[in-house]
Structures are given as C-alpha cells and as structure tokens.
C-alpha cells in the first residue's frame, strides 16, 4: 500500500472477507469494465524528502518579495503579519475541522465567525456581516446580484475606477442572470497625460438602476467624492455598493457613515502573506433590512436548553441546501481559515495599531510621491486626495520603466497601460508600512537614472 493508507494486506483481506467478497475489484463491478483502472500517464510517487526538495527548489526560482523591493499594489497589498496569527491558525483544531454543522462540537469555529462578523461590522460601520465570501471580486458579483434581487431591477452601474479584476469577475457573474452592467467614467486623462477625477454621476442615475458600485479608495489610490452619492441613489430606490480596503478604514470614515447599503472588502492582506493571490477572503456586509437577500453563511448567538449561550449557523432559509434553485446564491462556506487569520489580525492590532499601519502606509507613499515629483519628466497627480497608492506619469512607457526596474532588482508598479493603452505612460505605485525608506530612495534613484 502506498500513499497515506494504514490498512495492511492482512487487514485488507479480513475486511474483504467481512464484506463477503474476495478482491477489491469486485467492489467496482458497477463500473464499465472497458474503462476500469486506466493506465494513468503519471510518474511514480515521491518520498516526503523528494517532494520537499523538489518544491523547495521550485520555490527558489521565484522572486520572493521579502528579498526584493516592491511597489506593486493594484489590489494586493503586503502588510506585516504578527507571528501569533500563523501559529494560531495552524492549530489542528482550527485547520482540520469542517464547516460547523454540529454546533455542540464546533463552538470554537462558530464563535470565531461571530467575532469576524462583529469586526467586519465595526470596521465598515454596517449592521450585518456574513461569514465571508471567496474574495472581493466575487463579492462584487454577489453584491450586484443581491442589489438586483432587492430592487427587482437589472441595471448595475460600476465606476471605471473599480479594480479591473473585480469588474471582470462582476461581468462573469452578471452574464448568467443577464444583469446589464454599465461602466461609468470616473477619471479622465488630461492632455498632459496626468489623470483627473470625475465626480458627477447624476446623469447616469435613474429609477432603472439597482446599484452603483464604487471603490474607496479606488483602484488609482484616490478617494472618491462620496458626499451626496447614497442620497442621489436612494432618491431613485437604488443602492450604494462600496468596495473598501480594511486598512484605509483605520483612518477614513466607514461606508456605513455615508449611506452604503452593501460593503465588500478584501480581507486577505490584513492577516496573511500575499500568497500569489489566493486564498483570499471577501468581507461582505450590509444593512440590517437586507439580511434575507444576503449570500453565504451567517452565524448567530443563541442559548441551549439550560440558557447557556452558544453559536449556530442561522438564517439558513436563504441557502442552497434548503432553498435549492430559490437560494440567494450557490455559495456554501467560503474562506473560514483566512477569515480567522484576519479576525486575529484586527484583534492583535486594535484601533491604534490599525491607524498606525494606515498612517505609515500613507506617509511612506506620500514621501515617495514627493521625491518622484522632483524628478524631471515625472508627474504625480496632486489635486485629488489619495492614501497609499498613486499613478505617476513617466517620461517613458510604464512597461519600459518596469523592465528597467526589474533589471535593477526592483519590482516596480502596475502598468496602467495594461488596462487602457492611452495610459501607457502611467505607473501605479504603492507603499505600505513594510516599505523601508531605503527601498523608496533606491527606486527614486533608478527612476531618475532612466
């Protein structure tokens, strides 16, 4: 027996005899015999040592960002993760448990999810949170579907300053139910190549609109002008959907304070390494009166027969295993362990720690921007409020700049020309609290030498 099987040949024979057959093949007689036991074109199994050596070597061919300066954000951000988190989520009781279907033996996971829901609500200023969705991209798709179900409308507006990947996932999610997604311009390229912000969307808002989706801060790192937006939408019965970065919520007011109906966020970066983009964890919160249309699992507090407090999965009548084709979504559990990591992160940082992480990210990015703006040929947007990410107009195409930076051992920024050819000279740069000044100064030196 290979693999991770503990049955010995003698035990196997005893088991077959108890079943009343003499070979394992007899258990597979229902399978079409001409296709039974295919000759798989796969190599022989490796030992643990060989597996380790092979994969460690493979991992070393990658450009590990702890060993190279990087200014790449564009939706995925590196933050410092306190050591306690990795240790706690590696505990077998969290790591190797299943979805908490039997609450009496799953109070640990259930209470942790209740705490996640509480923290998501505290951060976003919303009433209700679910147990998580897959990521912010699919969360955006779910939010659009939910808004359409709530308003019984089919038209969704999304600003073009929303992360392009989230918009791509939204388009995929919208294709099935025939939701009409309309992209609304929220920035403009000026003749000098710099970018300007657009804030008046009133011409787009009418009573056919289910929701408008915005991102705060947006994909360009800027703050959107949100004042009056939810009121304009509410006046036609439409919902404001906000995609929020949890780190920013340490210093800027939460979407609940400016009238968001649904809030989505990416929770991965505040709790774990970037992990090549997965697994992620989507935060998903909404107003109290929207809860019956919420996708995903929800945990609630209740009591047992003796009045002892405990936690259960609740409001399941929204869900696929009960409602089947009438469910709010097909999603089951999503990313519980990553949500746990993020929950622990926010408990570890607390309000002061989170504000400091946000402030340091902002200060470092603004220092970088001020240095770059002194370089001849480079222009930094300066009129729009922004936090820790910003576009720079470069004297050369951003792709060339990135290549030159890579030759110098630096992962540059995000080439906005990949999204829009007219932005080919725009490079999106980001700093977080993990970016040392020495890396920033080195980047500026290399940029200045191009």
């Amino acid at each position: 027996m290979s693999g991770f099987i503990s049955t010995t040949p003698a035990q196997r024979d005893a088991m077959l005899s108890r079943i009343g057959v003499s070979t394992i093949d007899q258990l597979f007689e229902d399978l079409p015999s001409e296709h039974y036991r295919p000759d798989l074109d796969l190599p022989a199994g490796l030992s643990e040592l060989e597996t380790w050596q092979l994969l460690r070597k493979l991992s070393e061919t990658n450009f590990d960002l702890e060993r190279h300066p990087s200014f790449l954000g564009a939706g995925a951000y590196r933050h410092f993760v306190p050591a306690a988190i990795g240790h706690l989520i590696s505990r077998g009781e969290f790591l190797t448990s299943y979805t908490p279907y039997q609450p009496e033996v799953s109070q640990g996971t259930l209470q942790a999810v209740y705490e996640w829901q509480s923290i998501v609500c505290a951060l976003t200023g919303m009433d209700i949170s679910n147990a998580s969705v897959y990521d912010a991209g699919t969360g955006t798709g779910e939010a659009a579907r939910m808004a359409c179900a709530l308003t019984r409308r089919r038209r969704v507006l999304v600003l073009d300053t929303v992360n392009p990947r989230y918009r791509e996932v939204l388009a995929t999610y919208a294709s099935g139910p025939d939701i009409d997604v309309e992209t609304v311009s929220a920035f403009t390229a000026r003749p000098d190549g710099t970018l300007g912000r657009m804030t008046d969307f009133s011409s787009k808002i009418d009573d056919s609109v289910a929701c408008m989706i915005i991102q705060q801060p947006n994909f360009l790192g800027w703050m959107e002008q949100v004042e009056g937006l939810s009121e304009a939408l509410a006046s036609v019965g439409a919902i404001l959907v906000v995609i929020a970065d949890p780190v920013s919520l340490g210093v800027i007011r939460p979407p609940g304070a400016y009238g968001a109906g649904i809030v989505v966020g990416e929770g991965k970066w505040t709790g774990g390494p970037v992990d090549f983009g997965g697994p992620l964890v989507g935060m998903f919160a909404c107003r109290k009166d929207f809860v019956r249309q919420m996708p995903g699992r929800i945990v609630g507090s209740t009591i047992d027969g003796d009045g002892r407090k405990g936690y259960v999965l609740t409001l399941a009548t929204r869900e696929q295993h009960i409602r089947r084709e009438k469910a709010t979504s097909n999603i089951c559990t999503a990313e519980a362990l990553i949500a746990l990591a993020t929950t622990i992160y926010f408990c570890h940082l607390g309000p002061v720690g989170l504000r400091e992480v946000a402030e340091q990210s902002i200060q470092k990015a603004h220092y970088l921007a001020s240095r770059i703006s002194q370089l001849p040929g480079y222009t930094v947007q300066s009129t729009v409020p922004w936090l820790y990410e910003f576009p720079v107009h470069c004297p050369k195409p951003a792709s060339h700049v990135n290549e030159a930076l890579l030759r110098a051992g630096i992962i540059g920024g995000y080439d906005l020309g990949l999204e829009d050819p007219t932005l080919a000279h725009s490079l999106l740069l980001c700093c977080t609290e993990v970016t040392p000044r020495s890396d920033i100064d080195r980047l500026v030196d290399v940029l200045g030498s191009l």
């Binding site: 991992s59 969290f94 209700i128 090549f276 997965g278 084709e325 990313e335 570890h348």
Partner: protein, 515 residues
C-alpha cells in the same frame, strides 16, 4: 470501553461516558468564553510599529476633514490575551487531527503535514499575483503541472484552477455551457438535475440563468430514473448535472448511455465532482462521456478544511469546451517557460480576482506528486474498501436506504428508530457523547432520516471498528433508553442550541452594552 459498558453507563442520563482522547469538548458542560470584545481594556495593545523613517505630512492635509475617522470600535488586547483567547476557542472544536470525522459527502481525509511546509515556503508565499511572469516561473509551473495532472486523472484535457470552491467550479462550468450554446447561436433554457443532487446544483443553474428540471430516482437501484430522464431530455436542455458516484454513494451504471443520449440532443453532461474520491485511479469521467467536472481539491486531494475553507474547485472540461475556460490560463511556451494566456476571445472571463487558491493548489500538487500513479489507484480503491467494510459492520443493526455494494459512502435509514421516538438528529447528537462527530444527516433529501457515512481511505480498520461499535451502541440505546438519546449530547460544552430563536431573534454581532 466495550459496547456493553457504553450501554450501561448510558442509562444514567448525562453521566460521563467517555471523554474521547481526553478531549475537552467531551468533558461536560463548560462556562462560555467571553466574546473577544468583552476582554478589551482601553489603552492595551499587542504590538508596535517601527518608528517612521520618512518625513511626515499632517494627515489633515491628505484626508479631507469630513472623511477622517474618529472612532474605531476594535478590541484592545495584549498578545497574550489574543493567543489565549483563540487557543481556548480552538479547544471547543472537533477536528480530524484528534478524531475520526465520518461526514458523508465531505471526504474528511488526513492531509499530510509536508503539504503545510510546502505551502509555507517563502518563495511561494511572498509572491504578488501581478508580478511579471518571468519572476514567478516556479509558481506558474505548479499551476501548469496540476492542470495536466488533473486532466490525466479526470480524462478531461482543459483545466482551469481559478474556481476556489466546489460551488464556484459548478458556476464556472455552467457558465461555460451557457457560453458554448450561445456561440452556437441559441440559448437553451433548462438544466436537468436528479433529485438526489446537492443543493448547489439547482442554485448554480439558477445563478447561470437556467430553469432546473428535477429527475427522479429509482427507489430500488438508487440510481437516476432513466425513463424520467429520457422523457425530460430535449433540445432545450443545456446540460444535465449528475453526481458520480451519486449522493447515495452509488455508481450510475447507465452513465455512458446517459451521456450518449444527452449528446444526441446537444446537451452537455456536467459531473459534480464532490464524490470523485471514489473514482480516482479507478475510472476517468472523461472516458465515460462526461463533458465537464469540477474537482474539490480539498476533498479529493489535500487541503485542510479550515472550519469551512479555503478549498479549491478546479474545473476540467472536454476539448470542445476549452475555448470557454476562464481566462487567463497558464501555458507553456516553446522555450519551456510558463506564461499567462489571456487572449481567449470565447472565454467566459474571470471568476476570481487572481489565479484561484494558489496555496490550496500547491498543497494538492505536493499530494499528487507524493501519491504518484500507484498511490492514486490505492486512494480510490481504499476509499471504497473502507466504506464497504463499515457498511458490513453496521449491517446487522441498521437498514440501508439502498442495499447493495456502495462506492466511497453509504446512507443508513434512520426511520426504524421512529417507533422508539428517536429521530436521526437524536442519533447524531448521541454519537457525540460517544466521542464522534456525527455523519452527515438529512442528506440526500430523497432519503428520509438519512445518516450518510464516508470513512475515507486514510482511516484504519481499528478506527472503523471502534466507530461502528459506538454507532451500534447508540442504536441499542435508542431502542432501550430513548430519553438518553433524545436529550443528547450530554458531554459537550453546550447542549442542543435553540436554532429557532437564533433565526427569529437574530443576534449576529457583538454590540457594546448601552451604559
């Protein structure tokens, strides 16, 4: 402890039976653990950030006055507070590392620890998903290789690892079906789904814009009702979603005929791969005529379930459907290097922000490498051997919803206990007092009072013997001392929880008491 001793001690309702493995979740009622917010002490903190090494600007010059946040109600704790709180929470959990987890349809197998170490390698963890392809060749090779491994294992050549869960893979697959029909110029309206299917199947069909048409099952064979299928199949059917083996743990013996008839009217065959564990190394769904299948990497291969994710839901498809796979795909260039292929005009688009759950893909890749060809064959064979052995152990004390050789799981019929006033839920809760997580209950929906058991291939004969003894002891209790069973569990930190109250008076988050 023997079965007889179990039975005797069980007569004393609520008396300790056996704290299995000394685990504290079987040690009787316990004080609740305060919500983490309740431990907050103003001014306490766990860590500090380094001194800022750049000149600073006044934040008021950066953030408009009206947009600043003034209150952030997060808990304030020391690191010891945090570590102790979550360690204590963890001790209120059942987990596969300390106990047997016979949840039918969930495939709770053991995942080797080397996979954790591989997934923790800094050269994999500290990679930004948008780094240039030239700087992540090792990571792209992992994705490329597992695409090929999954293609070989399933017999379906087109693979995307973007979907991150089984239900997500289903949605991806059915959107591909939709795109393929639209490409041929006609939107079909219906998806056929057997009544034994997981609820995700009809929910997925609805999300993709289809009407679900239910197909019945044959009460004797436990398989799909073939005549019902034929009568409902027409050229307005976009796909049939079929689970193989089905949720009763039985192989659909007419699968090739089903595929042939579906294809005759241009209907695709989607296989829900939730039960693929039974088939790995034994048969390839693609060889039978299946067009699409999602692989739950966390069930079939090696991703710890994490209390409900992350997992992986890779989608595997026949050649004709490859153009519709989510973009980008990872491909190999002529020079041997790996790259993203985003130029896929017929693709349904992106279903995840990046390349799916890379960390889960990596664990599964390491697992497949370790098992190799022979190990993969042993996987399916032993999953089926263990299920049939468990079934044989229980045959004298339980009846089966369908009585025949099963695949990787089987369904007990809980109805005979009704005459003692005991329901399946009671049996499940009493099993907890005996130290076991209950099997899946009340699923599939077609089997009333269902108890669905899946041992998986990694469990030993001794473990299965002990579990069968416990379940038989509970059956005996149900017949002789039903009240003990009806009021279980007695040994857990909390008793049965009031789910009606939870739904009617929702308390879904902690809120500071109003002072």
């Amino acid at each position: 402890m023997t079965t007889t001793e179990h039975t005797e001690s069980a007569v004393h309702a609520g008396a300790p039976l056996r704290p299995a493995s000394g685990h504290s979740i079987f040690a009787g009622r316990q004080e609740g653990i305060p919500v983490v917010f309740e431990k907050s002490v103003k001014g306490r903190r766990a860590g500090k950030v380094p001194a800022l090494d750049v000149p600073t600007v006044d934040l008021d010059e950066i953030i408009p006055a009206g947009e600043r946040r003034h209150e952030l109600p997060l808990p304030e704790l020391s690191e010891l507070d945090v570590v102790r709180h979550f360690t204590r929470l963890s001790k209120r959990n059942y987990s596969i590392e300390s106990e047997f987890y016979p949840l039918g349809s969930c495939t709770m197998k053991y995942n080797p620890k080397i996979d954790e170490n591989v997934a923790a390698l800094p050269g994999f963890r500290n990679l930004h998903p948008l780094q240039p392809a030239s700087t992540v060749q090792g990571a792209l090779q992992v994705i490329y290789d597992i695409q090929r491994q999954l293609a070989e294992i399933t017999g379906l050549p087109g693979v995307s690892t973007q979907p991150v869960a089984g239900a997500h893979g289903e949605l991806t697959g059915i959107l591909m079906v939709r795109a393929a029909h639209l490409k041929q110029g006609r939107m079909r309206r219906k998806v056929l789904i057997p009544d034994s299917a997981h609820g995700t199947n009809p929910a997925t069909a609805a999300m993709a814009g289809y009407e679900s048409i239910t197909i019945g099952h044959d009460r004797i064979t436990g398989e799909l009702d073939f005549e019902d299928f034929k009568s409902k199949l027409d050229d307005d059917c976009a796909a049939i979603m079929i689970t193989l083996p089905n949720t009763l743990g039985l192989f659909e013996r007419r699968i090739e005929e089903i595929c042939r008839l579906a294809h005759e009217v241009g209907c695709f065959v989607y296989c829900d791969g939730a039960n693929l564990n039974a088939l790995v190394g034994q048969i390839r769904p693609g060889d039978l005529g299946v067009d699409l299948l999602h692989v739950n990497l966390h069930k079939t291969f090696a991703v710890p379930h994490g209390g409900g994710g992350p997992g992986g839901g890779a989608i595997c498809v026949a050649a004709a459907l490859e153009p519709f796979l989510p973009a980008p795909l990872v491909v190999q260039a002529h020079d041997g290097s790996f790259a993203y292929d985003a130029d896929r005009p017929d693709s349904i688009g992106r279903v995840h922000s990046y390349q799916g759950n890379f960390n889960a893909i990596l664990r599964s890749y390491a697992y497949i490498l370790q098992l190799g060809k022979e190990g993969l064959g042993d996987l399916g064979a032993n999953a089926v051997l263990n299920a049939n052995y468990m079934r044989a152990l229980l045959a004298d004390d339980f009846s089966f919803y369908v009585d025949r050789i099963c695949m990787h799981e089987f369904v007990l019929d809980g109805r005979p206990f009704k005459e003692f006033g005991v329901r399946t839920l009671d049996i499940a809760k009493r099993l907890i007092d005996h130290g076991y997580h209950p099997p899946t209950i009340y699923f599939p929906l077609i089997a009333p009072e269902a108890i669905m058991i899946e041992p998986t291939e990694t469990e030993s004969k001794e473990t299965m013997d002990a579990f069968a003894n416990a379940l038989i002891a509970v059956a005996h209790e149900a017949r002789t001392t039903p009240s003990v069973v009806q009021n279980a569990p007695h040994m857990t930190p909390v008793g049965r929880l009031d789910e009606v109250r939870a739904a009617r008076q929702p308390d879904l988050r902690w809120q500071a008491p109003v002072s």
